[in-house]
Symmetry: C2
Subunit: 337 residues, 2 copies
DNA sequence: TTGAAAGCGCTAACAT
DNA sequence: ATGTTAGCGCTTTCAA
């Protein structure tokens, strides 16, 4: 517990306990056979010195690193913290530790983050999305460790992917909307070049509408700011411009919730006169005056399975090198008639 | 770009470029003098091989690690992602990289996370809160690197702290409520033993009320679930039990928002018949029918300053070993008369 | 401007 | 059950 500037080493513990460095190392890692007496002496010495092992040296010597890199676009999206939570929970008792990196939806930043992560030689990598720069793809392909791409399955996969088809999610929502008899449909979403999943949902959505001879009648995009407030503003603007719309499809639940609050305030009959839907099925909605129709992105399950694959604890029959396509679940809530 | 199992080393690049390992190392780190011709040859070789430096070896040799450990209680709290964002932004151009660890508000888990982090010999540590186990406190005290405790300043500090006084925040809110003439006050919060800041706010709140001879008339606590929904339920329960309350103080904005929505639906006159207030000043509120009174926890500023201190770029006159107490700002919104 | 040698703190592999 | 030796892949330091 004495304060020192030079960090303590195994050698210090070795000297303090009168045992070889190797034996100290064994005790500290619970490896091999060590007599209880020796064990206790070592532990006492380590504790009273305040020794913290140097994993850098350990990793270099053993060629093993208990880190798993997790690369996501954003922390403010509300979706990713939940994926992280699921990943953390699974890794908790595997001896692996997640390390998070954030890309801000920028491919070039993603490339940097991947490079940085790989330079620490992690045991595995979990990366959100399938779209990467060529260089990033090359690095991931040659990483020599499990690489799991999560969230999305619509596109070429490097090694293993766990996610949903966002095109299909968009299609399913379109079909539900059409089946409910809505025809004059508006779309409200983010203007974010890097958000490929939102783009794919919109594409799937439009293509299913097109199959029924229906077109999206109005669109509105936003960037930045409070999603709830933006949802309000965008909805007000769109309804002012296109008052005869009978359905509004939002690219996420937060702006959808803003739209819902606006419509309710305006006294618009939901879901009779107009229907609404979002995406993600976030808990948040539980407390709103009405439950917004939405679609579950399976983010807990995605986190769980991705972590299990990286940890080598593959859920039922999955062994890596595969695509695990989860099924998005439609939650009709109260805003589709 | 050839695929290999054994990760590439400096030696591979050295052989491919016909230059010594040392020179390759210099090129890759932009250190020392290297002729442009050599430089280019090395860069070409590294790129075409797909070489990724091994930071583990580099860190061991140089005794320098560009990692900053950031330890927070939770990712789902909405507050911490913002602090992380601010930290990331500041570290972005310092060559330092944040590594996040989550404690789940459990002191014992925090101890483990600190130990793990320190075993990677980071350049600094940012830890949320002032309450730690004795062992954790000892580790932090002997870490030999900058340790910044954030969010809170009410208590003993290990090295440097950046935060607000939550006791004072609670007191300020009580004073504002009393000044507005409310007297029959209820409190709604989390039942979380590890959330010391919420506890301190409540203590400050009650003590300021007590100074005016006022007592909290009813209390309700929750755990888990959607905060918005819980805010609703708790509010409904409390008003059923104590119908004559004229103010509800919530320990965070999310449950406050749930309560607000409930009250509005019930047709309760806000802020006339009853006032409401939360804590955190989250953006979310912008889109609600009324803006909830709240208090800014200065989380961006906290993240910024903490990162600057760890990075050695101390903002105006702060040099570490100090307590930076930021001033919480009351945002009266529309729910205090 | 470039290279050679030594060693960072630990662990694998092999003694004893 | 414990100790010894030889690296892990880099960077520091010194030499050329």
């Amino acid at each position: 517990m004495a304060d020192q500037r030079r960090p303590l080493t195994l050698r210090d513990v070795s000297e303090a306990s009168g045992v070889s460095e190797m034996t100290v190392s064994r005790v500290l890692r619970n490896r091999g056979d060590v007599s209880p007496a020796t064990r206790e002496r070592v532990l006492d010495a380590a504790k009273s010195l305040g020794y913290v092992p140097n994993k850098i040296a350990g990793a270099l010597a053993s060629q093993r690193v208990n880190l798993v890199g997790v690369i996501i676009p954003s922390l403010s999206n509300m979706v990713f913290p939940e994926v992280l939570e699921a990943i953390s929970a699974v890794l908790e008792d595997t001896g692996l530790q997640p390390v998070f990196g954030v890309t801000g939806y920028r491919a070039e930043k993603e490339e940097t983050v991947i490079y940085e992560m790989l330079s620490w030689r992690p045991s595995g990598l979990i990366v959100a999305g399938l779209e990467h720069s060529d260089a990033a793809r090359a690095m991931l392909g040659n990483a020599g460790v499990p690489v799991v791409e999560i969230m999305d399955v619509d596109g070429p996969v490097i090694d293993t992917a766990v996610g949903i088809s966002h095109a299909r999610a968009g299609r399913m929502m379109a079909e539900a909307i059409l089946a409910a008899g809505y025809r004059r449909i508006g779309f409200l979403g983010t203007r974010m070049a890097g958000d490929h999943r939102a783009r794919k949902r919109l594409e799937g959505f439009r293509s299913a509408l097109a199959d029924a001879g229906v077109e999206v009648q109005d669109k509105e995009f936003y960037e930045g700011g409070s999603s709830l407030a933006k949802g309000r503003e965008m909805t007000a603007a769109m309804l002012a411009r296109s008052p005869d719309l009978d359905f509004l499809y939002y690219s996420n639940d937060m702006i959808g919730a803003g739209g819902l609050l606006y419509c309710l305030e305006q006294g618009i009959d939901i879901p009779g006169r107009m229907g609404l839907a979002g995406f993600n099925d976030v808990d948040l909605l539980d407390g709103l005056p009405m439950r917004l129709a939405t679609m579950d992105a399976c983010r807990f399950e995605i986190g769980r399975q991705a972590a299990a694959i990286v940890a080598g604890r593959h859920p039922e029959g999955i062994i890596g090198g595969e695509i695990v396509a989860l099924t998005p679940r439609l939650n009709p809530g109260d805003t589709i008639r």
